[in-house]
C-alpha cells in the first residue's frame, strides 16, 4: 500500500513538472532569425591573413598542405626578387575540408586561419573550390601583432640575419637585458 502511495506521488510530481514546463518560454534559438555569436576560435571557413604592414603572410612552406588529413590544400610556391617566398596560387577545396584546424596549427607565419563564419554552402560543388583571391583577406585575423619576417632571420644570398627588409636584429638569448 505504501508503495502504491509512493508511486502515485512520484507520478504526480512528474506530471506537475511537465505541466509547469508548458508555460515556460521555449529555449530554442531560431537559427536564421537569431544567429548565436560564435566563439572567436571556433573553426569554420579558412582565410589567408596579412601581416600588420599589409603584406601577405603566407610563405608557401607547404606545411598546411602536408598536415591536411584530407589533402584539400594545394599551392605553388614562388620567390620574390628579394628572396622571399610567396604562393603563386593557393587553393582550398572546401568540399573536402573537415575544418580540423591542423593547417592553422602547422602554419609558422599565422597566415592560414580558421574563422567562425560557417555559412558557406553552395549548390554547385565546384563553387566550393576557393582560389587565393577568395581566401586572402585584408586583416590580421586572430593574430594582430605577429609579423613573421621581423623575427625570423635567416642568412640568405641577399643578406645576413637581421639585414633583410623590415627585419629586426637577432635577440641575444644569453641575456635578458632589453
Amino acid at each position: 500500500m505504501n508503495d502504491a502511495v509512493e508511486a502515485v506521488k512520484a507520478l504526480a510530481i512528474g506530471f506537475a513538472t511537465t505541466f509547469k514546463h508548458l508555460f515556460r518560454k521555449p529555449i530554442t534559438e531560431e537559427y536564421p532569425e537569431y544567429k548565436r555569436p560564435l566563439p572567436a576560435r571556433s573553426r569554420a571557413r579558412i582565410i589567408l591573413t596579412r601581416d600588420p604592414d599589409g603584406a601577405e603572410r603566407c610563405v608557401a612552406c607547404y606545411l598546411c598542405s602536408a598536415v591536411c588529413p584530407v589533402s584539400c590544400i594545394s599551392m605553388q610556391s614562388a620567390e620574390n626578387e628579394d628572396g622571399r617566398r610567396y604562393a603563386q596560387w593557393f587553393r582550398i577545396n572546401f568540399a573536402r575540408c573537415i575544418y580540423c584546424g591542423l593547417c592553422e596549427e602547422a602554419c609558422p607565419t599565422s597566415a592560414i586561419q580558421l574563422t567562425p563564419e560557417f555559412e558557406n554552402c553552395e549548390n554547385d560543388i565546384l563553387a566550393l573550390v576557393y582560389e587565393k583571391k577568395n581566401l586572402l583577406v585584408d586583416h590580421q585575423g586572430k593574430d594582430k601583432e605577429y609579423n613573421y619576417y621581423k623575427y625570423a632571420g635567416v642568412a640568405t644570398e641577399v643578406g645576413k640575419k637581421g639585414e633583410h627588409v623590415k627585419e629586426e636584429r637577432p635577440v641575444n638569448i644569453k641575456s635578458n637585458l632589453p
Binding site: 507520478l11 513538472t17 511537465t18 505541466f19 508548458l22 515556460r24 529555449i27
Partner: protein, 328 residues
C-alpha cells in the same frame, strides 16, 4: 427500391465524410502532438512550413508519397506489403460504430449520425483492435530483420498483457448501460457521464488504451532507441506512412472511445454534438501526449507485471463492486 438507393447514397456520403475527417484529423493530430510535445519540452516544434507550421502535415504527406518504397530483398514480399494496410484499415474501420450525434433530419428523413449501430459495437471494436496487432506482428516477421522481429514479438506479447484489462475495464460500463451498442452506451449517459461512477474503469481503460495505441510509455514494439524503429524499421515511403497513419487514427479512435464510453460522447450544452465529440477526443489526445512527454518507456516485464498483476485484478474487483451495487 428508391428508398434503398437513397439509403445507400446517404451511407456512402457518411462514409466519405467520416473517412475524410479522420484522415485530415490524423494528419493534424501529428502536428498537434509535435507542437504540444515541443512545448512540454520547452521547444517550439514545427514552425517553418506555413504559419505555426500548419502546412507541416501536407509537407510530410508529400514527402512520404514521393519517397522510394523499398522492399528488402530478403523480405517476405506479400506479407511485407500487406502489413501496413492491415494496421491502417483496422484502425479506420473501428470508427464505424462511434456515434458523433443523435440524428439529422434532412427532407423528412432521419439520418442517424453513426455509420452503423451494431448491437455488439464494443466487441467489434475489440476484435478490430486485436487484428491491428496482427499488422505489427506481420510487419515485424516479414521484414526479415532482427529489430523488426523483436518489435513484432513485443507487439504480440504486449497485446496479451493489456487486451484482457482493456476488455474487463469496460464490463462495468456495459453493465451500467445494459448494452454492447455504443449508441446505447451514449444514450445511457444522458444524465451523467460514466467517468463519475466509474473512475477506476476510466483509469484502467486509459492505461490499456495507451498500450493499445503503442504510445510511450508502452511503445515497446517501436522503441526507437532500442530497436531502431521496431516493426517498421524496414519500411519506407508511403508504407511507413500507413503505419504512421494507423497509429494516429488509433489515437483518435481511442480518444473517441474514451469520450463515448466515459465522457458522455457527443452530449454537451450549446455546441453541436460532433463538435463536442471532437473536443473530447482532442482533450483525451492531449492527455495522452502529456503522458508521453512525462513518462519513460516501461520495460517488457514491467508492462507484463502491470497488466497481469495490477490492471486485471483491479478490473475484476471493479466488476464485482459494480455488480454488487447494481444488485442492491
Amino acid at each position: 427500391m428508391l428508398n434503398w438507393i437513397v439509403g445507400f447514397t446517404i451511407l456512402i456520403v457518411k462514409l466519405g465524410v467520416v473517412l475524410l475527417v479522420l484522415l485530415l484529423l490524423a494528419a493534424y493530430l501529428v502536428w498537434l502532438e509535435r507542437k504540444f510535445l515541443a512545448r512540454l519540452q520547452i521547444r517550439y516544434g514545427p514552425n517553418r512550413a506555413g504559419k505555426f507550421g500548419l502546412l507541416q502535415p501536407i509537407a510530410d504527406t508529400i514527402k512520404m508519397l514521393t519517397k522510394e518504397d523499398i522492399v528488402p530483398a530478403a523480405a517476405d514480399r506479400f506479407i511485407f506489403l500487406l502489413a501496413p494496410a492491415v494496421v491502417a484499415t483496422t484502425a479506420l474501420m473501428m470508427f464505424a460504430v462511434v456515434p458523433f450525434g443523435s440524428h439529422l433530419t434532412l427532407w423528412g428523413r432521419q439520418i442517424p449520425l453513426v455509420i452503423t449501430d451494431l448491437n455488439v459495437g464494443l466487441l467489434y471494436v475489440f476484435a478490430l483492435s486485436s487484428l491491428g496487432v496482427y499488422g505489427v506482428a506481420m510487419g515485424g516477421w516479414a521484414s526479415n530483420s532482427k529489430y523488426s522481429l523483436l518489435g513484432g514479438i513485443r507487439g504480440a506479447a504486449q497485446m496479451i498483457s493489456y487486451e484482457l484489462a482493456l476488455g474487463l475495464s469496460l464490463v462495468p460500463v456495459v453493465m451500467l448501460a445494459g448494452s454492447f451498442s455504443i449508441v446505447d452506451i451514449v444514450n445511457a449517459q444522458a444524465k451523467y457521464p460514466f467517468i463519475i461512477v466509474q473512475p477506476f474503469a476510466f483509469v484502467i481503460f486509459m492505461i490499456s488504451a495507451m498500450a493499445e495505441s503503442k504510445r510511450i510509455p508502452f511503445d515497446l514494439p517501436e522503441a526507437e532507441n532500442e530497436l531502431g524503429a521496431g516493426y517498421h524499421t524496414e519500411y519506407s515511403g508511403i508504407r511507413f506512412g500507413l503505419f504512421f497513419l494507423g497509429e494516429y487514427v488509433h489515437l483518435q479512435i481511442l480518444g473517441a472511445l474514451v469520450a463515448v464510453l466515459f465522457l458522455g460522447g457527443w452530449r454537451g450544452p450549446i455546441l453541436p454534438p460532433p463538435v463536442w465529440l471532437f473536443m473530447k477526443m482532442i482533450f483525451v489526445a492531449l492527455i495522452m501526449i502529456w503522458v508521453r512527454g512525462t513518462l519513460p518507456r516501461l520495460r517488457y516485464d514491467q508492462l507484463m507485471a502491470l497488466g497481469w498483476k495490477v490492471l486485471i485484478p483491479l478490473a475484476l474487483v471493479n466488476i464485482m463492486v459494480t455488480g454488487a451495487i447494481l444488485l442492491i
